[in-house]
């Protein structure tokens, strides 16, 4: 298992707190539609992409941080003024990104193992 730390958060405030806590580290973030009581997300693409992302995590470097962020319920996500859209400039879920860089994968790109691997192993 690669030496990365996983942090689970929900909502924008939690996310930004986690980012600050790990200032100075390489931070990857995966944004997904929130899961229900049974652990299933309202976003079908997010459900499909998660195993691909988890597989790709095996390539991540030592000391990296992986933030798994549940963005919220569908109506919140659809609101064009939500914090994720306005402040983080997210356009869709799932989004997988390397925080503080332009390296990101959006929607169907997250389903492609080769692209996910590239994002995690980039230096």
């Amino acid at each position: 298992m690669a030496g990365y730390k996983e942090v689970s958060v929900a909502g924008y405030e939690d996310f930004m707190q986690a980012v600050e806590q790990h200032n100075g580290k390489t931070v990857f973030a995966y944004f997904s539609g929130s899961k229900d009581a049974e652990g299933k997300s309202w976003c079908p693409d997010c459900v499909q992409a998660e195993p691909v992302v988890r597989e790709g995590l095996k390539h991540v470097g030592e000391g990296c941080v992986f933030i798994y962020c549940q963005v919220g319920e569908k109506p919140y996500w659809k609101d064009p003024n939500n914090d994720f859209r306005k402040k983080l400039k997210l356009t869709a879920v799932p989004t997988l990104l390397k925080y503080g860089t332009p390296h990101k994968l959006v929607e169907s790109e997250c389903l492609q193992a080769n692209l996910v691997e590239m994002l995690f192993s980039e230096d």
């Binding site: 860089t101 332009p102 390296h103 990101k104 994968l105 790109e109 492609q112 080769n114 692209l115 590239m118």
Partner: protein, 459 residues
């Protein structure tokens, strides 16, 4: 496989995947051009009723950060595109060692060899230096300007290429003091009447021109970000010398092809020894049948991003897609993105006269005053449009030129029309869109041969 490696500039600047256009050319240039236009718009806005009391000033750092963020996303986009198509990208300098084999050296000096059946050379160009005292130590080029970590301040631009004029234009538009040192003509190779009108528009913006001078030394008076540099220049017409002090000296005197040091001589790919460019046939093939070339390195072809992209795409289709189409290099439109833009497609008046004889040409022209400039009280004789028609061929439009706002957007459609065989009659039959600048081309009446005055009166 793509072997891409950017050797750092003398000032240490380097960049990611995507070539000159994405990193240190078209893209950052157009964004900075837009920044300058927005400054002008702020000035004009007062006349349209906008009231604001703050002093409007420009922050260079904010601009470069925004530009570099966008460039970074384009670099990433290139990486994604390559990976999606399973193209291996190796960040290393490629060099032929023998037929069908290259040696790739990465930034750490590690070497790996690769073989392939076919090769494409698209190594582009880099800015040329003057070869005078202080040039590499103290001067910057377009390689450095778009990510410069400090505001350039009072700038001397050396050169009269479109790179020189575009940079001079947006720097002046951002409020900086700009001087342009020109050895002989502006925009060599372009229509000279248009070039001179463009030069005048820059002068009206406050750009100072030092015509017929060349720098002979650059000395550092003070270190800093920016520092202070003294430039000594000699007249091309006599012994006169002139000295000036500037914060930044930007060299834009031309670009050299990156075809030396990549082993072309080892496999016999012929290059033009004078300028380093590679002659190819109409299939972009070099003198060695399995080696092709596209882009700025090509001898005798327009050095423009869309030309390179088109040539590359069609080459790939011919090699692997069973298609036959060749790249059409005729009537390629281009635009100089100075604050007042210059768009053209086809021949300059000089070339047209050479190819068809002046008596067989009819040139229609006019000055025009954009409606938006009326209320803003801007010059009513600065914008100019002309078409060059071949009288022996139904007044076929063989040259299209416009100096005016949004020339870039305007020229595209007319380039397509010229591909369809545009004639003066067809232009006259086209109904104009009102009120626009582009519509002037549908109502051109005055010819140069008539000698009639086109200047606008009033205001």
């Amino acid at each position: 496989m793509v072997l891409d490696f950017v050797a750092p500039s003398p000032q240490g600047t380097s960049w990611g995947l995507g070539g000159t256009c994405v990193n240190v050319g078209c893209v950052p240039k157009k964004l900075m051009h837009q920044a300058a236009l927005l400054g002008q718009a702020l000035t004009d806005s007062r006349r349209f009723g906008w009231e604001f009391s703050q002093q409007v000033k420009h922050n260079w750092g904010t601009l470069t950060e925004a530009v570099q963020t966008h460039v970074g996303s384009l670099n990433w986009g290139c990486r994604l595109s390559l990976r999606e198509k399973a193209v291996a990208y190796v960040n290393a300098h490629g060099e032929f060692v023998e037929h069908h084999k290259v040696k790739a050296t990465n930034g750490k000096g590690q070497k790996t060899c690769y073989t392939a059946a076919k090769f494409v050379i698209a190594t582009g160009e880099r800015p040329r230096y003057l070869g005078i005292q202080g040039d590499k130590e103290y001067c910057i080029t377009s390689d450095d300007l778009f990510s410069l970590p400090y505001c350039p301040g009072a700038t001397l631009v050396v050169g009269a290429s479109y790179v020189a004029l575009e940079c001079a234009g947006f720097l002046a538009g951002l409020g900086l003091e700009v001087t342009v040192m020109v050895r002989s003509v502006l925009l060599r190779g372009f229509d000279q009447e248009m070039a001179e009108r463009l030069g005048s528009s820059l002068e009206r913006l406050g750009v100072r021109f030092l015509r017929k001078f060349v720098p002979v030394a650059v000395l550092q008076l003070e270190k800093g970000s920016p520092g202070r540099l003294k430039v000594v220049a000699r007249s091309t017409e006599g012994p006169e010398t002139v000295e000036g002090v500037y914060n930044t000296v930007l060299l834009a005197i031309g670009r050299d092809s990156c075809t030396k040091g990549i082993g072309l001589e080892k496999i016999g790919v012929k290059i033009n020894e004078k300028n380093g460019r590679i002659p190819v046939n109409d299939m972009e093939q070099t003198t060695v049948p399995y080696v092709y070339a596209v882009g700025d390195v090509l001898e005798g072809k327009p050095q423009l991003t869309p030309v390179a992209m088109q040539a590359g795409k069609l080459l790939a289709r011919r090699l692997f897609g069973g298609r036959l189409e060749k790249c059409d290099y005729v009537n390629v439109p281009t635009v100089v993105f100075t604050p007042l833009e210059y768009g053209c497609c086809g021949l300059s008046e000089e070339r047209a006269a050479q190819e068809y004889q002046r008596e067989n040409l009819e040139v229609y022209h006019t000055v025009f005053w954009p409606l938006e400039w009326t209320v803003a009280c801007r010059d009513n004789n600065a914008c100019y449009a002309k078409i060059i028609c071949n009288k022996l061929d139904n007044e076929r439009v063989i040259g299209f030129h416009i100096l005016g706002p949004n020339a870039g957007e305007i020229t595209q459609g007319f380039a397509a029309a010229m591909k369809c065989g545009l004639t003066k009659r067809l232009l006259d039959d086209t109904v104009g869109i009102h009120p626009t600048c582009a519509e002037v081309f549908t109502t051109l009446e005055i010819t140069k041969s008539s000698g009639l005055d086109i200047m606008q009166k009033g205001c």
